[in-house]
Symmetry: C2
Subunit: 295 residues, 2 copies
Amino acid sequence: MELHQLEYFVAITETGSFSRAAQRCNVAQPSLSQQIIKLEHEIGQPLFDRLGRKVVLTEVGKRLLPRANVILGELQEIKGELQTEIQAGYGNLRVGFIPTIAPFVLPLVIRRFSQEFPNATLEVHEGLTEELVQKIIDADLDVGITSLPINNKKIHTEELLVEPLLVASTQKFEIASRAVIQVKELDDFPFIALSEVHCLGEQVQSFCYQQDLELNIVCHTSQLVTVHNCIALGLGVSLVPQALAISDTSGDIIYRTVSDIAPKRKIAAATHARRNQSFLACQFIEIVRSEYPSN
Amino acid sequence: MELHQLEYFVAITETGSFSRAAQRCNVAQPSLSQQIIKLEHEIGQPLFDRLGRKVVLTEVGKRLLPRANVILGELQEIKGELQTEIQAGYGNLRVGFIPTIAPFVLPLVIRRFSQEFPNATLEVHEGLTEELVQKIIDADLDVGITSLPINNKKIHTEELLVEPLLVASTQKFEIASRAVIQVKELDDFPFIALSEVHCLGEQVQSFCYQQDLELNIVCHTSQLVTVHNCIALGLGVSLVPQALAISDTSGDIIYRTVSDIAPKRKIAAATHARRNQSFLACQFIEIVRSEYPSN
DNA sequence: CCTTTGTATAGTTTATAACTATAGACTATA
DNA sequence: TATAGTCTATAGTTATAAACTATACAAAGG
């Protein structure tokens, strides 16, 4: 049984004749006759009584007709719906953020995305870069918001923005009041370090290594919020993402840029290199780009 | 879009691979790939992300899958249902009886048919032979129960039985008490004639003509029940169908067979010569044959 | 690095659905 | 009752599309 056979069948019932049905279907009449015969053979019973002047449905034909209409109607719907649903933002999107981005960006993005795509469902994960990468490769995640670099051929990255890392300190340390801060000055103060399991921690570490800084690390912590709280208590200074600075409205901590060689991290959307990006995924990435806190 | 494309599509989702799906569908893998590509072109978007080790549905694919399953499932059902519904006696049957048969046969037949085919709907018409014939030709009626002959090439007739016509009389006329009744004796008594619009009236008339009888007709009536009532009142005698005699339980009227040359009528099922007889129609005809009142 | 697994592509063959032409059956009108 | 007109079915052919084989190319795993 094939769909064009059902189309022919319905056309005959609607036109009341093989010939007229053939015209409507843009085929020759014999083609149509043969397809109906095939259909009748497959069903095992005739569908029409050919009476010359008119054709009449048999009992089997009568019972097939509404069903054929349903099938064809559904198929017609499906084609349209698939397009419109996608454009109307139906669908599911699975996204992930790394822990040093999530707190400042995730809430803003979710809010905006839910407003713009109320028909979509959004699954949000938080995990370290390598965890997100593995999920993306396994197709368990559609988009990961993380920082560069990602050295994996299976991952496609789209850079969204460059985020400066700011010196964070309380007034207790004089670095907070200097007009200009140079890289070399950072090792003059106790430093609150983020664990290298985070790419941010790793990036700060390698930045300092490149600049020949030997930091005076007084604390290693595995959460950025702990770093923040330590700074606020005056235990030391650190390099933190600008997004954290922007979202910090307490006023206890002073954030300053490094003048000469600014530490920074590149924020990117990571997707599977070989999967097609869905409409929602593209839209989501643009929302992250525009909602990401920056001055 | 064609059904085998949807079958391939579903097979891929279930096996997780083009190759395995091809095996299941008993086609070569390239054939299947090409059909999926065609389907994707028609929909305008890819359905799968081919990741090498595994294939993953795209958002469009995810939304197509349940619909494809519905379509294929429905189609599978339809094939089965068409067969079983017919065999389970679903359907509609439009039947007709002529007025000189209907009163004695129709009730019995309807009762039996309804019992045997509770899933069927039965439309019953009553009309003169020519009316039934016309409806059958127009495919407005499936089966007509009437008497032969029917001279119409478009009508197929199946003889069911030969019904004797009996002499009906009250004791008032001595014909009722004779041991043997001969044709020639009929014109000795007043005769209640049925109108020739009925084939029965016509048949009696032509029977008498052939036997060189000149009936002493005292009454022409257009309903068989009127004939019956006239006889019961002793107004005359008549030739009536055996079915009437059997159903007459009053005992007022004596029914006798004609010994030498028995008048009779052939009861037949008339159907369209070129239409296929439905299962229900065949069953109905057999029920008429077996339920028709006879000694 | 090589083998294995998997999909896509190219080229060919087969199968099927299209076509043309015409037969055969019926309707309607002269 | 002829006869033209209107159907569907059949026969034979062509064209299309779906199948196949062989192979290229990419990725994963030992």
